[in-house]
């Protein structure tokens, strides 16, 4: 049975206090420093989870964040990794993906079905008859998945921290520490990270290495700890490598996004299992798992242990564990023990029986727990009772980050391991991931990596790399076929040995297809324990070397990362008009407008009443609207006119000083992207506005064209320095006359004129515009003065019952004038020749944006914008924007704008229809959502005041 052992030297737990939690309803006590798994084993819980597919009992495998069969659930958290997470006091944990509890899980009945569920079975069944598939699908969906997600999980985001360092050393074992140490005193900053709670890696959990390295480790750590330029981060996982040496490091307080000038990868190796029947029984584990458990947490995961050896280090592990006080009776070697040299002799001297080469290995269990192993040696069968079988047959380099950094690997047949061979600039590897296994070799390799990085930083250094280990550290064929299978290669996905040969024979015979067909490596541990064996098995099937088989791509992440950590802080830029407070007080209903928000309308009665009141105010008296969201640019310099003529379709450079022009911008394809007003302030000075949501893009175009054409012009974006207010209505001149010295008569300030003036004591720029169809002025003024001016105008206008109006009323007012709204009445393929704006395209200019395309597009426009009206007089109009214009079974176009015109007493709108149809058409049929057809008359788009008489000096 598993149990706690007496205190170990330098153990990670503190035994003076207890943390209490429950597992599957049973109370468990842990010491601070325990992982959930170590605490469970300490109280003899060896059954820790169920497998994904067959619900087989599973226990500890690696104790190193690869135990994806031991994922736990709490009331709010899911897929908690018990082998590395510490238990929370008072928390209730259960195993994921069980039916009726871990012990009795009736999901294990699925195992009885396993013969009919071979690899790829789901491609081969359940789809006939078709109507039954949804039923099967529901069953399959319900059976799959691991833990369940609680919608009660607190929406915690963790801020992302940015860190810059000269050299990031990933892995705090012997090689990493030696490398970091070599970098000290060279004026370089260094960060060493390690995923464990303490630095040292194997120097801690291997007894022999701990003894051999005690002084070195203490000296090195104290040197690093006292160095001002070095930081040591524990419980920190480098989860990926990205362009320009950017490495997200996951820590308790969120992701530290480290940008390093250089990186040393000393991530070591991952112990890989042997493949034999029942190799998944609780009690069968990796030798390094047992070493971690006993030396870190003082836990013996078994009573009676046997070591399965595929390399020399298995013997070291056996001897170490025995000296740690665990009972290790036997080493079963896959090869002849004499090939292990002195190791076999040492083990026997230690009282461990050494047997080999063994064949036909199989684990046996009783009540879901390892009880014995059977094997053949020299032709005779044996059975040994045990409750612990420690696999030590090979190592897979933890080279994921190196692969991502485009380091090239080659296969070393002597070592039976792939080795990094070609490095991009500023990256080095050291230690076991680099093929150096002995303690001295790892330290020397770390120093060599440090020296390489010093050379990279153009410092003086000598690289003396130790030789690669000369004996294989991994067994080339660590598997035992069995007619009844259950010899697992991938524990996440319950993939067995014969699944590979089936997949191979069915044609999935390269490494990628095999992965996809068998799903090997697709589970939570992403193949870290299984990919090497899978590749070796495939190599044998192909009759080729491991080097020729290749490998699948190692993608981020190294360990899974929570979305809360990835998301970082919630940052949503928002731009506020200076007048938002005024709008709120006036009862604004808001709508999003890109980064801005704008009043849709102001509530005063029902929605319809509010809109109608706003409309009436503008048409009959006075209305005022905040248009601060418009893009606003100063264009200054000798080439100012030329720049605008290049960017806009018309001859805007011909505008007279003191006058504005409505301007249209197309992209290179001739598509309308923006409109605005260009006001000529002086010979070399324009003031240009742009649509709210396109303003930034327009600024980009203006500056890009200026740079491309080497123009002598400066474009200044003052969008957010200025506010803008549009005030309009028959009584506007009376009102403004009282607060400005500017003469507002048509002769002094004509329609479409622009004037710099003083208004309410504030310097402003006024433009006489006609967007809403009444006499109106767009007043551009300093952001800080906007509230003062707005309030003054509102106070003064009270006598005329002035009302602020929102975007909806503005849209209705402009619709009556037939003004298009870019991106509403136009779409991603509308060009000027499909609209009433064709006259704004001036081909006399040799160059302007969109010219090449427009020359062609003007010949055969596909569509036309038309105006329409119906006799509907109700306010609750059934026609909506984007209802289709149809002719029987053909779609002719769609409605782009529609609204009820109180002035005209009918519903009006704009529609875009096919050009051919538009020629001479009198009527259109609009289909409503409910399918009903509404007939409408085609009319000119200037619905209201077509002669612009309301702009004349009537006041």
């Amino acid at each position: 049975m598993a149990h706690r052992v007496p205190p170990q030297p330098h153990e990670w737990i503190t035994r003076d206090r207890k943390v209490r939690f429950s597992f599957e309803g049973e109370p468990v006590a842990a010491y601070p420093g325990d992982t959930i798994t170590s605490a469970l084993l300490a109280s003899d819980h060896t059954l820790l989870g169920r497998s994904f597919k067959y619900h087989r009992p599973r226990g500890i495998l690696s104790a190193a964040n690869h135990d994806s069969n031991v994922l736990l659930q709490t009331a709010t958290r899911t897929n908690v990794r018990a082998d590395v997470e510490m238990p929370l006091d008072g928390e209730a944990y259960t195993a994921v993906n069980t039916h009726g509890g871990l012990k009795r899980d009736w999901g294990q009945l699925l195992e009885a079905l396993s013969p009919v569920l071979p690899v790829g079975f789901y491609y081969k069944a359940f789809f006939r008859p078709r109507w039954l598939f949804p039923l099967w699908e529901r069953l399959i969906r319900r059976a799959s998945g691991l833990g369940w997600v609680s919608t009660d999980f607190p929406p915690t985001r963790q801020a992302t921290h940015r860190v810059y360092v000269d050299c990031l050393v990933i892995g705090g074992g012997a090689a990493g520490l030696a490398a970091a140490s070599a970098l000290l005193d060279h004026g370089l900053t260094v960060i060493v990270i390690d995923e464990n709670a303490r630095l040292g890696g194997r120097l801690h959990y291997s007894r022999s290495e701990a003894e051999a390295s005690r002084d070195w480790l203490a000296t090195t750590l104290s040197r690093l700890e006292s160095a001002a330029e070095a930081e040591l981060w524990t419980q920190s996982v480098a989860v990926g490598w990205y362009s320009d040496h950017e490495v997200p490091v996951v820590r308790a307080d969120g992701i530290h996004l480290v940008t390093a000038r250089a990186i040393i990868v000393a991530t070591g190796v991952i112990e890989t299992p042997a493949v034999f029947r029942n190799n998944d029984l609780p009690g069968v584990m990796l030798a390094s798992a047992a070493q971690r458990l006993v030396r870190r947490y003082g836990v013996a995961p078994f009573e009676d242990g046997i070591v399965l050896a595929g390399n020399a280090s298995a013997y070291e592990a056996a001897i170490d564990l025995k000296r740690d006080g665990l009972r290790i009776t036997t080493i079963l070697d896959l090869d002849l023990p004499t090939t292990r040299g002195d190791r076999a002799v040492e083990a026997e001297a230690e009282g461990i029986r050494v047997v080999g080469p063994i064949k036909h290995l199989e684990a046996r269990g009783s009540r879901g727990q390892l009880s014995s192993v059977t094997y053949n040696v020299n032709g005779s069968a044996h059975e040994l009772a045990c409750d612990g079988l420690l696999m030590s047959v090979g190592w897979a380099p933890a080279g994921q980050l190196l692969h991502q950094a485009r380091v090239r690997f080659t296969y070393d047949p002597q070592l039976e391991q792939v080795l990094p061979s070609e490095f991009p600039a500023g990256i080095a590897a050291a230690g076991r991931v680099n093929g150096r296994f002995g303690l001295a070799a790892r330290i020397a390799d770390g120093e060599a990596a440090g020296a390489k990085i010093l050379l990279y930083f153009k410092q003086v250094a000598t690289v003396v790399a130790p030789p690669v280990a000369s004996i294989p550290q991994s067994h080339s064929r660590p598997w035992f076929p069995h007619p009844k299978g259950k010899n697992f290669v991938d524990f996440d996905e319950d993939i067995q040995l014969h699944d590979f040969s089936v997949a191979y024979r069915e044609g999935f015979d390269n490494v990628e297809l095999m992965k996809r067909y068998t799903t090997n490596g697709m589970g939570p541990s992403q193949g870290k324990h299984s990919n090497l064996n899978a590749a070796r098995i495939l190599a044998e099937l192909q009759g080729r070397s491991l080097a020729e088989v290749g490998s699948t791509t190692a993608r981020p992440f190294y360990h899974p990362v929570t979305m809360g950590a990835l998301a970082g802080r919630r940052l949503r830029p928002r731009w506020d008009s200076a007048l938002n407070g005024e709008h709120t007080r006036a009862g604004a209903e808001w709508m999003d407008a890109g980064l801005w928000c704008r009043p849709k309308f102001y509530r005063g009665g029902s929605d319809a009443e509010s809109r109608l009141a706003e409309y009436r105010a503008v048409r009959e008296r006075l209305g005022i609207i905040d248009v601060s969201t418009l893009g606003k640019f100063e264009v200054i310099g000798p080439d100012a006119g030329q720049l605008l003529a290049l960017c806009y379709t018309s001859a805007v450079d011909k505008a007279a000083i003191g006058m504005t022009r409505y301007v249209l911008m197309c992209d290179q394809r001739g598509i309308i992207v923006d409109d605005g007003v260009a006001a000529r302030i002086g010979e070399q000075r324009f003031y240009v506005t742009a649509g709210s949501s396109h303003a930034q893009a327009t600024y980009r175009t203006l500056t890009q064209v200026a740079a491309l054409c080497r123009l002598n012009v400066e474009v200044v974006d003052i969008t957010r320095q200025l506010a803008a207010i549009n005030i309009a209505g028959p009584r506007v001149r009376g009102l403004l006359g009282a607060v400005t010295s500017q003469n507002l008569s048509d002769t002094s300030f004509p329609f479409l004129g622009v004037r710099d003036a003083e208004l309410c004591g504030v310097p402003v720029r006024m433009m006489r515009v006609g967007f809403v169809g009444e006499v109106g002025y767009e007043i551009h003024l300093p952001y800080t003065q906007a509230v003062h001016v707005w309030r003054s105008l509102m106070a003064l206008g009270a006598a005329d019952a002035i009302l602020p109006f929102g975007v909806e009323t503005q849209r209705q007012l402009r619709l009556e004038k037939g003004h298009l709204i870019v991106a509403q009445d136009t779409d991603g393929v509308t060009h000027p020749f499909e609209t009433p704006l064709a006259g704004l395209v001036n081909f006399k200019k040799p160059h302007f944006l969109g010219r090449a395309a427009l020359e062609m597009l003007r010949e055969a426009p596909a569509r036309s914008v038309v105006g329409f009206e119906t006799d509907y007089s109700a306010l609750d109009l059934p026609i909506e924007e984007c209802h289709l214009v149809v002719d029987g079974s053909s779609i002719l176009g769609r409605v782009t704008s529609v609204g009820y015109s109180p002035s005209l007493g009918r519903t009006i709108g704009l529609a875009v229809v096919t050009h051919d149809f538009a020629i001479g058409a009198q009527r259109i049929a609009i289909r409503l959502t409910n399918g009903a057809l509404v007939n409408a008359r085609i009319v000119p788009t200037a619905f209201y005041d077509p002669g612009n008489t309301r702009q004349q000096d009537a006041a």
């Binding site: 362009s243 940008t259 290179q668 980009r700 890009q704 491309l708 090449a852 020359e855």
Partner: protein, 88 residues
């Protein structure tokens, strides 16, 4: 993350930039057949390209030579010298 070592700005993350390719360069093309062809067609194979990149926080344009196969940056220059822009 990709970072650009820019004149004036120093090292800036690629996220701060908008890539505008090189389409704009057709604007001044004299040969109208070539100008027309360039609107929709080009050489989009992987190679070293000169592209316009706009840096949002500083509102500056850069010309960046970049290998579109490896994402490696060969050269970065300001599209318009800042002195020019200030009329100096």
């Amino acid at each position: 993350m990709k970072q650009f070592r820019c004149p004036i700005l120093g090292l800036r993350p690629a996220q701060e930039f908008i890539c505008a390719g090189s389409a704009i360069e057709g604007l001044l093309q004299a040969d109208s057949a070539a100008a027309r062809s360039g609107v929709y067609f080009g050489d989009a194979t992987a190679r070293v390209k000169r592209e316009w990149w706009y840096h949002r926080p500083s509102q500056l344009w850069f010309l960046i030579e970049r290998d579109t196969a490896s994402d490696e940056v060969m050269a970065i220059e300001l599209a318009q010298p800042v002195e020019d822009a200030h009329g100096a």
